[in-house]
């Protein structure tokens, strides 16, 4: 089985993001970048599936600037086998990225693609679903599991996604509960926060990662239409919420909600 995992370079979720005064983007000075947190979970899941099956290959793919090498190396250090970086400096939308992945999945003859449910920069939550449509494959989004992140199953590194007999069984987080889907493989699965707790890269893992293959492809070499249909015209800071006041006691709070705000 060959598993493709997508890895996006995104600003650290703990960083404070500010919009540039001219609205052309965010201020990137001194900004730290990380693997999109959902993609870390996808990498972890792929590694668990590999460990369980004994015979899978885990290939990381990313689209973006050359600096995304750093994030791919992190994934390789976690234990992935090799990586492909499609070097692109231009703006892309989810559809363009999905088309690139479509091409890579075909070239690599992958059986399973794992993506994060959402990139924490654009918050689009689209790429996996689009890729599934382009491939004509079934999809399971927001993969989670029934055991908690503190369960024994989690501690022993059991994959939450079950694959056997050419089918995947996926528990997913939806409105009002957890749904279980069965879908034939090949398939596209996007992962949610509670699927697993990703491992850290070990020191030997980091050493090994340096020697693993990281192939770079020029975006133009793929023969894919990457003209974005969704255009970002400008960014503005969100309306600021005024901090209110501190109240001295529970009584004062309840009175204020009742008499002043009139919400209870």
């Amino acid at each position: 089985m060959k598993i493709l995992v997508t890895v996006k370079r995104v600003p650290d979720p703990n960083a404070s993001i500010k919009v540039k005064p001219d609205g052309t983007g965010i201020i990137t000075d001194n900004l730290k970048y990380v693997v999109n947190p959902f993609d870390e979970i996808a990498i972890e899941e792929a590694l668990r599936l590999k460990e369980k099956s004994g015979g899978a290959e885990v290939v990381l793919v990313s689209v973006g600037s050359k600096t995304a090498q750093e994030q791919l190396r992190t994934g390789l250090a976690m234990g992935a086998d090799r990586a492909i970086l499609v070097v692109a400096e231009q703006e892309l939308d989810s559809l363009a990225v999905a088309r690139i992945f479509h091409k890579l999945v075909q070239d690599e003859k992958a059986d399973l693609v794992l993506l994060g449910k959402q990139a924490i920069d654009d918050d689009a939550n689209q790429t996996g679903q689009m890729l599934a449509a382009l491939l004509g494959w079934p999809q399971a989004t927001f993969a989670s599991k029934t055991d908690s992140l503190e369960s024994e199953a989690e501690k022993s590194g059991t994959p939450g996604i079950q694959i056997s007999g050419g089918a995947a069984k996926v528990v997913r987080e939806v409105d009002g509960g957890l749904e279980t889907l069965e879908l034939p493989v090949p398939a596209v699965i996007t992962v949610d926060l509670r699927l697993n707790v990703p491992r850290y890269a070990s020191l030997p893992g980091i050493m090994k990662a340096r020697k693993k293959e990281l192939k770079e492809l020029a975006i133009d070499s793929l023969g894919v239409d990457v003209k974005p249909k969704l255009k970002i015209l400008r960014l503005d800071p969100p309306p600021k919420r005024q901090a209110g006041r501190k109240v001295g006691s529970v009584q004062e709070l309840v009175q204020a909600l009742h008499n002043e705000a009139k919400v209870i």
């Binding site: 600003p11 979720p13 404070s16 993001i17 919009v19 965010i26 939308d93 989810s94 559809l95 999905a98 959402q118 924490i120 920069d121 918050d123 939550n125 689209q126 679903q129 689009m130 449509a133 382009l134 989004t141 927001f142 989670s144 908690s148 992140l149 503190e150 369960s151 939806v174 009002g176 509960g177 957890l178 279980t180 889907l181 069965e182 879908l183 034939p184 509670r194 974005p228 249909k229 969704l230 255009k231 970002i232 015209l233 400008r234 960014l235 503005d236 800071p237 969100p238 901090a243 209110g244 006041r245 501190k246 109240v247 529970v250 709070l253 309840v254 909600l257 705000a261 919400v263 209870i264």
Partner: protein
């Protein structure tokens, strides 16, 4: 002519409130584009749903009644929806960004080769739209090139459309859903059972964070307050990850987005990812023992206190009002 089609989601053949939000957004988009707003209902035995949608101000309701659509799966629904968009010459497809909307719309967009904007919060003059990015740290003005266009809208950003208007025409349409487009099976649904209001629809939301320390404390400390206020219960990611409460109570960037009249954050620090899901609430109350907690920067009323003392006290005070 920029005609708009609203995907009218239902659950077990019952219309859900987020769909009415989608209708409002669709009507607004149609007005800005100078076109008409239609709706489409997919399912099996959905005449009643269609009739309800027909009273919400849309021009016409299309119904695809097909056994293959009886249960929602992305593959069959996307194939059917893309076909309706093509057959009816739709320019803009709109749905609310519920779990189904998020699962379905990008798939439809790719089938149509269309650009998509997700979680849109406003339609502007000149055809542009606004949507949050970076956990709400930036509001992007975006445009979609070409036609059709696909748009999901944030459920808190538009008021639900009023029902009970003049009945629009309901038209049955058939789309050939070939069996190969439906291979996914939904085999189980474990519902989070609750008698409380739905989190995304409640007027009051009381959310608990890591500080609650256990599921047991959610029950014994927080729930009495939730119930005396007739509120829905929410939680931070930390509380959900720790297994104190079910997943679908998570409020935030990657959970539910809520904007109730009153949001009470109990023992929640106020990380940007949490704020992304609640900072449009009308009144925000924070109860936290750390006076430096970032949640106080967005709170209308802040109480610096130990929640294990303050929450039971508050429950009693609210009871007195009743």
């Amino acid at each position: 002519m920029g005609n708009v089609l609203v995907f009218a989601e239902h659950q077990h053949n019952k219309l859900i409130k987020p769909t009415l939000v989608g209708v409002t957004a669709g009507l607004e988009a149609a007005k800005k584009n100078g076109g008409d707003c239609f709706a489409v209902v997919l399912g099996s035995g959905v005449d009643a749903v269609a009739a309800e949608v027909a009273e919400c101000g849309v021009k016409k309701v299309f119904v695809v009644d097909d056994a293959a659509l009886a249960k929602y799966t992305a593959d069959a629904h996307a194939a059917a929806l893309a076909q309706v968009v093509k057959d009816k010459g739709i320019e803009t497809l709109v749905a609310t960004a519920t779990a189904v909307g998020k699962d379905l719309l990008p798939r439809v967009a790719a089938l149509l080769g269309a650009g998509m904007a997700g979680e849109v919060i406003g339609f502007n003059d000149g055809g542009t739209m606004s949507r949050p990015m970076y956990a709400g740290n930036a509001i992007a003005t975006v445009s979609i090139e070409g036609s059709p266009k696909v748009v999901s809208v944030r459920s808190t950003a538009f008021d639900p459309a009023a029902k009970g208007g003049a009945k629009a025409e309901v038209e049955k349409v058939t789309v050939g859903i070939d069996a190969s487009s439906k291979v996914t099976k939904s085999v189980d649904f474990s519902e989070t059972k609750s008698d409380r209001p739905v989190l995304t629809e409640a007027n009051i939301v009381v959310s608990g964070g890591r500080a609650l320390k256990s599921g047991e404390n959610f029950k014994t400390v927080l729930e009495p307050l939730v119930d005396v206020m007739g509120a829905a219960m929410g939680a931070s990611r930390a509380a959900v990850d720790a297994g104190f409460v079910p997943n679908d109570l998570q409020v935030g960037q990657t959970g539910k987005v809520v904007a109730p009249q009153l949001y009470i954050a109990v023992g929640i620090s106020g990380a940007i990812q949490h704020l992304a899901g609640m900072k449009d609430s009308k009144i925000i109350v924070a109860i936290n023992k750390d006076e430096e907690a970032p949640i106080f920067q967005v709170a209308d009323y802040g109480l610096v206190a130990d929640l294990f003392k303050a929450v039971p006290e508050m429950t009693d005070e609210v009871k007195k009002l009743k």
